[in-house]
């Protein structure tokens, strides 16, 4: 199950482990539901994530689109995952730190 922590001023979604295609398919509906039409900033917390797939990159882009002007951020990004965002050319757009 997805760890979603929603407060008045932000929504933090925590991911863990290997975010491969199969895992992403299993949590897709939850992620979609959690971030759709958000009116507060969305934060993806990747502490403990050691692999991300194309599907997870799409989660990130979707999250960023849904958050819009409210803000989207990816935090606790390890070097291996940071490099993935860098190669994909998405690090700046997704504010992956």
């Amino acid at each position: 199950m997805l760890d979603v922590c929603k407060s008045q001023d932000k929504q933090v979604i925590r991911f863990e482990g290997r975010m491969d295609t199969d895992k992403c398919a299993k949590i897709e509906t939850e992620v979609r539901t959690a971030v759709s039409g958000s009116s507060i900033p969305i934060i993806f917390d990747l502490d403990g994530v050691d692999f991300i797939s194309s599907a997870f990159l799409r989660f990130c882009i979707y999250g960023q689109q849904q958050a819009g002007d409210h803000g989207f951020q990816i935090v606790n990004v390890g070097p291996c995952i940071k490099r993935v965002f860098k190669i994909a050319g998405l690090d700046a757009m997704l504010k992956a730190e």
Partner: protein, 480 residues
């Protein structure tokens, strides 16, 4: 968030957005994960080798489907066998003495130009070497072979996804317009072009500013030296020249024989339904085989059977004719059939001796085929090495059908490849048979290893202008 539709038509930037995402995901793959993808793609492509060969022959009208099956086998089975154990991920070598550790990194998105002559085999080959090195690949097929190249790409892509490869690790261009290809070639996100195709296209790739591994044209002479096993040599040349009706750029273009064995060689060719044209017939043939305006072979004869070409030329030859031999006196533009013709047509030269044979082969080699391939049939090792040293060719195949020999893996231990580098003579960066190792950036960790000679050397000697190189070298190497 549906999985991206592979059938949708992206624009130039979208191709690269997808490719960059694929490169990013691929960068996390281990060697084992990578090898699993490559194996799955090999098996899928191999399983479809006959279907793809037939599709290629039907669509292009070139060559024979049976030979295209063999090309697909080389591109899948032989290439896979050659690369499967290659280390392409992470640390690939460690030398504790030198203190050098090598790390393999993918180069990034690759644009693969696919030629009409080998539309499915080149696609399979390039996909396998790209995936083995964790590089996403975008195929740009020939407009005359788009359907079959796309089909090959789709088969490989489906298998790759099944093996958990990143989405969009294989893409193919929606159209084959020059404009789209040009825009792709010069895109900032493109890492490398694998340009297998005509001279114009390869030059265009080089001009794009993107690092390119290209190929050159061939004009392969085969020297039959007098120590050769003549029946064997002729049989092998026929096997090569008739393979896919001559569409391989490494196929023999001219036979050069010493006078002492010329009659025997000619008789062996005749035994195998090869026909020697008269001077008048040569003129008739060259009108249809060579485009004098463009100064190149006429595409209409490429990959066509000899009997059909003879009919096109208005020649009344036996229906079972297999090969057209055209006696020539010299090499150059005024002798059109001394140029590369990718069809069952061979120029025929008889010369006085080995020295004259080598001289003529040099002329042929330099007449449009610099850096590609040359061939010799001989049982004299000294002469073979003499011949090889004097040629400008990436591959000098010995007692071998050159079409199959140059691509490697069947008759020798060259790397199986559908992209044959032709060195600087062919305006290429390598003479190698291009393979997976060419698609890596190698990073080197250099641990500190002090130069012990420099440590004991008085560095102030460098400032003394009276000391020449000999004196400095003596001091530098003292006690070593």
């Amino acid at each position: 968030m549906p999985r991206a539709n592979v059938g949708s038509v992206p624009n130039v930037d979208q191709y690269f957005e997808r490719a960059s995402a694929a490169a990013a995901v691929f960068s996390q793959f281990t060697q084992e994960q990578t090898d699993r993808v490559v194996k799955a793609v090999f098996e899928a492509a191999f399983a479809q080798r006959v279907k793809l060969a037939k599709l290629a022959q039907e669509e292009t009208g070139l060559g024979k489907w049976q030979d295209k099956v063999i090309k697909n086998v080389v591109a899948s089975q032989f290439v896979y066998e050659d690369i499967k154990d290659l280390k392409t991920v992470g640390i690939i070598s460690e030398d504790p003495v030198k203190g050098i550790v090598e790390i393999a990194q993918p180069v990034g998105p690759i644009l693969a130009i696919i030629p009409v002559t080998n539309p499915t085999s080149t696609a399979i080959f390039k996909i396998l070497i790209a995936l083995k090195t964790r590089n996403p690949i975008i195929l740009s097929p020939s407009r005359k072979a788009k359907r079959c190249s796309d089909e090959a790409a789709q088969i490989c892509y489906r298998a790759a996804l099944e093996a958990d490869a990143p989405e969009h690790c294989i893409q193919w261009l929606s159209d084959c317009s020059r404009e789209l290809t040009q825009a792709m070639m010069s895109h900032d996100s493109l890492a490398m072009i694998l340009a297998t195709g005509g001279a114009g296209l390869v030059k265009s790739a080089y001009s794009s500013g993107t690092p390119t591994i290209g190929v050159g044209a061939g004009n392969v002479p085969v020297c039959i030296e007098k120590s050769a096993d003549i029946p064997f040599a002729v049989e092998q040349i026929m096997i090569s020249k008739l393979f896919d009706y001559g569409t391989i750029c490494a196929s023999e273009q001219a036979v050069v024989v010493e006078k002492a064995v010329a009659e025997e060689v000619a008789a062996e060719f005749r035994k195998r339904n090869a026909y020697f044209l008269s001077d008048t017939e040569v003129v008739q043939l060259q009108r249809v085989a060579f485009d004098a305006t463009q100064g190149v072979m006429n595409p209409a004869v490429v990959g066509q059977p000899a009997a059909k070409i003879a009919k096109m030329a208005g020649l009344d030859l036996p229906a079972d004719v297999q090969l057209l031999l055209t006696p020539q006196k010299m090499v150059g533009n005024v002798w059109p059939l001394s140029s590369e013709i990718l069809a069952p047509i061979l120029a025929w030269y008889v010369v006085d001796d080995f020295q004259s044979a080598v001289n003529l082969c040099i002329d042929l080699n330099f007449h449009g085929g610099i850096g590609h391939t040359v061939s010799i049939f001989s049982n004299d090792d000294v002469r073979i090495k003499t011949f090889a040293t004097l040629m400008n060719a990436g591959r000098i195949v010995v007692n071998t059908p050159s079409s199959q020999g140059a691509v490697g893996g069947i008759y020798n231990m060259l790397h199986p490849s559908l992209t044959l580098g032709c060195g600087t003579g062919g305006k290429n960066i390598t003479t190698d048979n291009v393979t997976a190792s060419h698609l890596l950036n190698i990073q080197r960790i250099a641990w500190r290893r002090d130069n012990q000679r420099l440590k004991q050397f008085d560095i102030n000697l460098y400032y003394d202008e009276s000391l020449d190189a000999t004196a400095i070298t003596r001091a530098f190497n003292k006690n070593f």
